[in-house]
């Protein structure tokens, strides 16, 4: 297991450092053959250069990384680039070029596409963003991921790119699409209650061990539906961290026997001031 993170800071970028060249250098190094996990951080001016050249380079160099199983495109924090300012591109060619990949994490949803969303072996797909566009959600729900065990999507808010609604998200809850799925995260959402209510009785829960509805705007309304569900009761873990539940509801959850994380209670009474964690 060997992991590498490539990143270009402000100075490097202004001095003309290029992520493509760093990738070529890595591909030509002895470490390439052993590399199992590659993390692409700030690729230099990530708010003005999209990730397409990185995708092209990685696709071209796919033969150099025979052991690569984990890929993260866009691992940067707010000190480097606002999440909503990270310019992505269509990352689907990576899925095609790396058929042995097991895990793909993407940060930033601006200009993000994932078409065609197909991979025989991918087990983990995570998209971290302040607002995921409906096209990407539809690509995933209409895609082909027979081995996917973990799907974690930050849905976000409309100001930062979430242009869908519950109906956009609902196909992800259908059984049969992801036969191997055991972890479903539909999180960081401004419609977290609607999602919780829609999921509470969804047959897909029967195959899950973890349901992750954390980081969003969950209130008692959504929690009530979860509490009333036998399917939720059977989950091994329910993540509701960062929520707007009342003290009373938190107590009920604690007494219900659910294995739930209800940390980070938010204290807003006012509906207009409820936000998911990542909203930029």
């Amino acid at each position: 297991m060997s992991e590498m993170k490539l990143t270009i800071g402000y100075d490097g970028y202004e001095e003309g450092k290029k992520m493509q060249e760093m990738l070529e250098e890595l591909a030509n190094s002895p470490a390439a053959k052993e590399l199992t996990s590659l993390i692409i951080g700030d690729w230099g001016g990530s708010y003005e250069n999209d990730s397409s050249e990185i995708v092209e380079t990685l696709v071209r160099l796919n033969g150099a990384f025979p052991q690569l199983r984990k890929l993260f495109i866009g691992d940067m924090d707010g000190e480097e680039c606002e999440v909503s300012w990270i310019l992505q591109s269509n990352l689907a060619p990576l899925l095609t070029a790396y058929p042995e990949l097991l895990s793909l994490t993407i940060k930033g949803s601006s200009q993000l596409e994932l078409e065609p969303a197909r991979h025989e072996k991918l087990e983990e797909l995570v998209i971290i963003c302040g607002g995921l566009n409906a096209d990407v959600i539809t690509s995933i729900s209409g895609g082909h991921f027979p081995s996917l065990k973990k799907l974690e999507l930050y849905l976000g808010v409309d100001d930062y790119g979430f242009d869908g609604d519950l109906e956009t998200v609902r196909p992800l809850m259908e059984t049969g699409k992801f036969p191997a799925l055991t972890y479903l995260g539909l999180k960081n959402s401004e419609i977290q209650d609607e999602i919780a209510i829609a999921l509470a009785q969804a047959p897909i829960l029967d195959q899950l061990h973890t349901l992750d509805l954390s980081m969003g705007t969950l209130t008692d309304k959504g929690a009530e539906a979860l509490l009333g569900s036998d399917k939720v009761q059977k989950l091994q873990f329910l993540n509701l961290s960062h929520h707007y539940l009342s003290d009373g509801m938190m107590k009920r959850i604690e007494q219900s026997g659910l294995h739930a994380d209800i940390s980070e209670q938010q204290d807003s009474e006012d509906e207009d001031y409820r936000y998911p964690v990542l909203t930029e």
Partner: protein
């Protein structure tokens, strides 16, 4: 250290902490001269020294403490900075940018009529002019009483450390690593100049800081997006607009994120008019999903107490709800810690007439890069529950600077 005069706000916890430390060390209490009494001419430094029996030719140690957290003092300082305030020749000599005009000056009468409003920023540049004038008077008066007056931190240095524009120049000249400055204050008269300079210099992410603000007060993390044209200002600053008078600015507790130019422009303009320092937003090192900077106290040339301010926001600061961590908890490599301490010591050494300062040190994402100094706080020794060799910051100063005068800067 045997005899000490503290000029400060007597009700402040700083004064109380200092007196407790003196007691622990076995020193007599310091003579406290309240800022308010000085400003209202209720007492002079000479009278205070006389009352304390310090006019016998042996100069006491003089310590200036923070004038903040007292509205009456603030109001008197704004009045002292007024264009029509009574003053002597040379009263503005300690102000690094004293030749610049303050925007919309207030008369003594208007300043004296100010009412306290929570969080309000009344007139930062005129306040600083008033404080600079007071420092100049104290320096002159002390010099007349004791020709070799021993200031813990010289009034001139305090004025210089307080003004971030000056701090940048002093540190840079001394070879201390500082974040890149966007442009000189003269080149940044207003919002449009700032925006154009950022775009042309391709410095798209900056901190714009009120030159004389302390803590998070008057700090804006500002970024422009050359691709989309978007801009984003993260700050505790807010303002109310009025039809019949200029907007009033104030600090809020929770950080705000402004994306609307119509809101950002007046904030930037207000800061630049009062005097502001614009520097590169260096990407800070992270601890988990939070980033941090370090407040490193330096006493008598030696780095001592330190604390990291850890935050999920761009503005790490003790006064916001940032969490604090020790160097041990951060588990920074020894070499990085060593470089950080050296960097802080070099920053204080740039002020040879000062013995104590809290240095804000920034460690970049690339740990191999040298740390840089983002602020020098002459009153930066108020660090709660932070010990160094078993002592709090005040006791440490009493002991470290107490062994005769040799350790005290001249």
């Amino acid at each position: 250290m045997e005899r000490m005069i503290v000029i400060g706000n007597p009700e402040n916890r700083r004064t109380a902490s200092l007196q407790r430390a003196r007691e622990r060390v076995g020193l007599p209490p310091a003579v406290v001269v309240p800022y308010l009494d000085l400003l209202r001419n209720h007492i002079s430094l000479t009278e205070a020294a006389e009352q304390g029996g310090m006019l016998d030719g042996i100069p006491p140690l003089l310590r200036l403490d923070a004038p903040g957290e007292n509205f009456d003092v603030e109001r008197e300082l704004i009045a002292l900075g007024a264009p029509d305030a009574a003053r002597d020749e040379g009263d503005d000599r300690l102000l690094p940018f004293g030749g610049r005009d303050d925007p919309q000056p207030m008369s003594v009468r208007a300043a004296s009529a100010l009412m306290e409003q929570r969080g309000r920023l009344y007139h930062p540049s005129q306040w600083f002019r008033g404080y600079g004038r007071l420092l100049a008077r104290l320096e002159r008066e002390a010099g007349a009483i004791w020709p070799t007056a021993g200031w813990l931190n010289a009034p001139r240095d305090i004025a210089g450390m307080f003004d971030k524009r000056s701090t940048h120049n002093v540190l840079k000249a001394a070879g201390v690593s500082v974040p890149r400055r966007l442009a000189s204050p003269e080149a940044l008269p207003d919002y449009d100049a700032l925006y154009d300079t950022m775009r042309d210099a391709r410095l798209h992410r900056i901190f714009l800081k009120l030159a004389v603000g302390s803590g998070a007060c008057g700090v804006v993390a500002y970024q422009i997006n050359p691709h989309s044209g978007a801009e984003l200002a993260t700050t505790t600053l807010a303002f109310d607009s009025f039809i019949s008078k200029p907007p009033q600015f104030y600090n809020v507790l929770k950080l705000r994120r402004y994306t609307d130019r119509a809101v950002i422009r007046p904030i930037v303009n207000w800061l630049l008019k009062h005097g502001a320092h614009a520097e590169q937003w260096v990407a800070k090192a992270a601890y988990g999903d939070r980033t941090f900077d370090i407040r490193q106290l330096v006493v008598g040339g030696e780095a001592c107490h330190s604390i990291a301010r850890v935050s999920r926001t761009p503005i790490t600061n003790l006064h916001l709800r940032s969490e604090r961590m020790s160097m041990e908890e951060l588990s920074l490599p020894q070499l990085v810690q060593e470089n950080m301490r050296k960097c802080a010591e070099a920053a204080l050494a740039a002020y040879p007439s000062s013995s104590v300062a809290g240095i804000d040190v920034l460690i970049g994402k690339d740990l191999r890069q040298p740390p840089s100094v983002v602020d020098v706080n002459p009153f930066g020794d108020l660090l709660y529950n932070v010990a160094y060799q078993g002592m709090d910051a005040y006791e440490w100063q009493m002991r470290r600077l107490g062994s005769g005068r040799r350790d005290i800067a001249r």
